[in-house]
């Protein structure tokens, strides 16, 4: 049942990402909590969403270019992490999150390849629409547009649960066998957070961006230390 839920959520996210609406619901910051909520672990999704969003902030579809499919990657990572956390009885910990990203993150790159294949496939829909119009069926011709959402749905609905199943199986095995890895992987999570923020800042390509990034980080640290000291 869990994998069916993952399939539906990942499929809908694939449609929302490009074919319909594009209202940020398939962005990692929203999708990871949605997957977490659907699988009964909202805090786990909320832990994963922010760093994944910052990492993939630059993943945008400009012109005919194809970015990594961050929605597919996020669905697999979040679902795999939540299911692994459930199997371990710990929920999504930083260690689980790091391993999930390591195992399923590259699915986003595979998603780029499947996106390209889908765009090639859609050429047939456009050609069929022209034929239908020649035959005097304009309503059927324009309806071909809607059929273009089927393949992204199916591809993501198949790939995301499959990758999540691998993640959910491997992570508990690793962390049960090597429990001492939990603390070092927590450091890996801290490093990932730093890199994600840097990747986000780079994605903005602002001329003053690096200075603003450094200044904001310094002010946040100073305020945090001050408040921590007061507390």
């Amino acid at each position: 049942m869990d994998y069916l839920v993952v399939a539906v959520v990942a499929g809908l996210a694939a449609v929302e990402r490009k074919g319909f609406l594009q209202a940020m619901l398939s962005r990692p910051v929203a999708l990871a909590p949605i997957v977490g909520l659907a699988l009964g672990d909202l805090p786990g999704g909320l832990l994963l969403g922010p760093p994944l969003e910052l990492l993939w902030l630059g993943a945008v579809n400009m012109g005919a270019s194809l970015p990594p499919n961050e929605a597919l990657g996020t669905a697999a990572i979040a679902a795999g992490a939540v299911l692994a956390g459930r199997a371990l009885g710990t929920g999504v910990t930083p260690a689980v999150a790091v391993l999930a990203i390591a195992l399923a993150g590259t699915l986003a790159a595979l998603g780029r390849a499947t996106d390209r294949a889908i765009e090639e496939w859609n050429v047939r829909l456009a050609a069929r629409a022209e034929v239908l119009l020649e035959r005097g069926s304009p309503i059927a011709a324009v309806r071909e547009n809607l059929y273009g959402m089927a393949l992204p749905f199916v591809v993501s609905a198949l790939l995301a649960p499959a990758a999540a199943a691998v993640v959910a199986r491997v992570i508990p095995g690793v962390l049960v066998e090597f429990p001492a890895l939990n603390a070092p992987l927590g450091w890996g999570w801290a490093a990932l957070g730093g890199l994600a923020a840097a990747a986000g800042a780079r994605a903005f390509r602002s001329a003053r961006g690096i200075g603003l990034f450094a200044g904001a980080a310094a002010v946040t640290l100073a305020v945090g230390w001050l408040l921590g000291g007061i507390r």
Binding site: G19, Q22, L57, G148, W189, G194, G209, F213, T220
Partner: protein, 253 residues
């Protein structure tokens, strides 16, 4: 004859499906034809003329999915004149061809490189600081703003036709895009600082220092056009290795 408001709303709804069948040959052509079809049905009672109009909208088209709403509106503006015999049938196509490039550039620069990543960073920082209510608020705000802009552009295109460029210029989107990019960089800096503080609180001060050092290294390495995911693996591996060494030095505690 003009297109009734109800039909215009239907066309706008269909604009949300503009990229449903994005393809390598005609790009958004099928989506454009799907979106404008209800208006063409209203304008051309003769099936032959309607099919002819639909055929011209199956020509290659590509634009930013949000700003394309202005072109759909403007194409209806021109189709009304074609239907009334005031313009040649090629006018809507010429209008689309002239505007699709500039509006794509404006849309990519403002929405994809400015507004959406800004709200993505805002949602991320908000979630880190305040949890799901901040996430929901950021998403609601983004969508209220983006849907309002899409509708405004569609209406401006329909009412102004060729003058939509003037209306668009009045919105000063490039200026706003630059501000949003600066604001986004600030939010990422806040995320870096907050992440370091969180790591310091959760693990040790050393983990906080590590997070900041990785953020600084990330800025440099990604600025040298390093690929993202190999860099992610390197950062996670380095962080984990540092954690393991620290654990060993502390006697396995």
């Amino acid at each position: 004859m003009s297109v009734p408001p109800m039909t215009l709303r239907r066309v706008f709804w269909r604009c949300l499906f503009l990229q449903a069948a994005w393809n390598r040959r005609g790009m958004q052509n099928l989506g454009f034809a799907y979106a404008i079809d209800p208006a063409l049905r209203r304008l051309y009672a003769d099936p032959g003329k309607r099919n002819e109009a639909l055929r011209r909208h199956l020509a290659t088209f590509n634009c930013h999915p949000y700003t394309a709403a202005a072109i759909v509106g403007g194409a209806i503006h021109h189709e009304e004149r074609v239907a009334a015999g005031e313009e040649p049938p090629g006018a809507p196509l010429a209008y689309k061809q002239v505007l699709q490039g500039p509006l794509a550039a404006v849309g990519d620069s403002f929405f994809w490189a400015g507004l959406r990543p800004f709200f993505g960073a805002m949602a991320a920082v908000g979630t880190l600081a305040l949890g799901w209510p901040a996430l929901v608020a950021a998403l609601l705000l983004y969508n209220a703003l983006h849907l309002w802009l899409r509708w405004t552009l569609f209406r401006a295109g329909y009412r102004a036709g060729d003058d939509v460029v003037v209306r668009l210029a009045s919105l000063s989107l490039p200026t706003w895009a630059a501000r949003l990019r600066d604001g986004g960089a600030v939010l990422c800096g806040v995320a870096a600082g907050a992440g370091a503080l969180s790591a310091a609180g959760r693990l040790s001060a050393g983990a906080g220092v590590l997070a900041i050092l990785v953020a600084a290294a990330g800025i440099v390495v990604l600025g040298l056009r390093a690929r993202l995911f190999p860099t992610v693996y390197a950062a996670m591996a380095m962080g984990t290795a540092t954690g393991a060494v620290t654990q060993l030095l502390r006697g396995g505690r």
